[in-house]
């Protein structure tokens, strides 16, 4: 029965949650609970980051087409978005740690948001134009039926003269 399985899973989650609360209460009686939570969050973020880095380095997260569109040509708008996202995130971190005590910046200038917005907007517009091109390349009149009962029409098969490489 599905509901039995559901109740069993809910009980397991409840016991794990209660166990964590008891553990935290016990640790809290020994040391500052706020500090314990801070360490848990910092270690968790570090662990997740290390897993992502390990998978990137070992090739399990494939970066080959990080800057490419579907046709495997590199995209200038993706490249620009990568540069600006990375630079502004690093600068945000640098600003936070440069303040004593550590503090999030009080205000973010409109020019910074404009730079990110232009970069992101350019990427979205480029994607829109590319999608428009793919639709215009797909011309059902040119689909070659092969006599099979359910011919599959792909954009490349639909219009062989069209240039599929003009993307990115």
């Amino acid at each position: 029965m599905d509901w039995l399985k559901l109740v069993k899973e809910m009980m397991i989650v409840l016991f794990i949650g209660l166990g964590q609360l008891v553990l935290l209460y016990y640790i809290g009686s020994l040391m500052d609970i706020k500090m314990v939570m801070e360490w848990i969050v910092v270690l968790f973020i570090g662990l997740v980051g290390l897993i992502v880095l390990y998978r990137m380095a070992s090739g399990k997260i494939d970066l080959q087409y990080l800057l490419s569109e579907e046709n495997t040509h590199a995209s200038m708008s993706r490249f620009q978005l990568l540069i600006f996202t990375f630079i502004i995130s690093v600068s945000l971190f640098l600003i936070i740690i440069s303040n004593t005590p550590l503090d999030f910046p009080k205000n973010i200038p409109g020019a910074i948001l404009s730079l990110l917005g232009i970069s992101g907007g350019s990427y979205i517009a480029a994607k829109g134009i590319q999608a428009n091109k793919e639709i215009s390349n797909f011309n059902p009149k040119n689909v070659q039926t092969t006599g099979s009962p359910d011919p599959v029409a792909t954009p490349a098969a639909a219009d062989p003269d069209s240039d599929q490489s003009d993307k990115g």
């Binding site: 495997t72 040509h73 590199a74 630079i87 200038p109 404009s114 350019s122 490489s165």
Partner: protein, 107 residues
């Protein structure tokens, strides 16, 4: 500064630097595909001036931003409005070029 804050700073620096190193090394060794980044897509082996200007302006604006940040890293740098305008126009030219290429293939 508490130990947890010091540990977090080292941890985030480590994650950011290693991630940047992985991406940059793969860009240099060609394991991240950069084929056709600066070329016209419908004409083989022809450089695209629009893409080159976008790359140049992007790199220049990024360096300008980093230079301003280096001078005062305690707050976000005040970026000149003309720089934002230049960046916007550069992107607009790129998008217009793509749109023009689309219209040309439709005709």
């Amino acid at each position: 500064m508490p130990y947890v804050a010091k540990f977090m700073i080292i941890e985030i620096w480590f994650l950011l630097i290693v991630m940047a190193a992985i991406i940059i090394s793969r860009l240099i060794t060609g394991r991240i595909n950069l084929k056709g980044l600066l070329h016209e897509k419908n004409i083989a082996n022809k450089f695209s001036p629009v893409r080159i200007q976008l790359l140049s302006v992007s790199v220049a604006v990024a360096l300008y931003y980093l230079f301003k940040l280096y001078k005062d890293p305690t707050r976000f740098p005040m970026v000149n409005k003309n720089v934002v305008l230049l960046f916007g126009v550069s992107n607009l030219v790129y998008i217009a070029g793509k749109y023009w290429a689309l219209c040309r293939t439709k005709m």
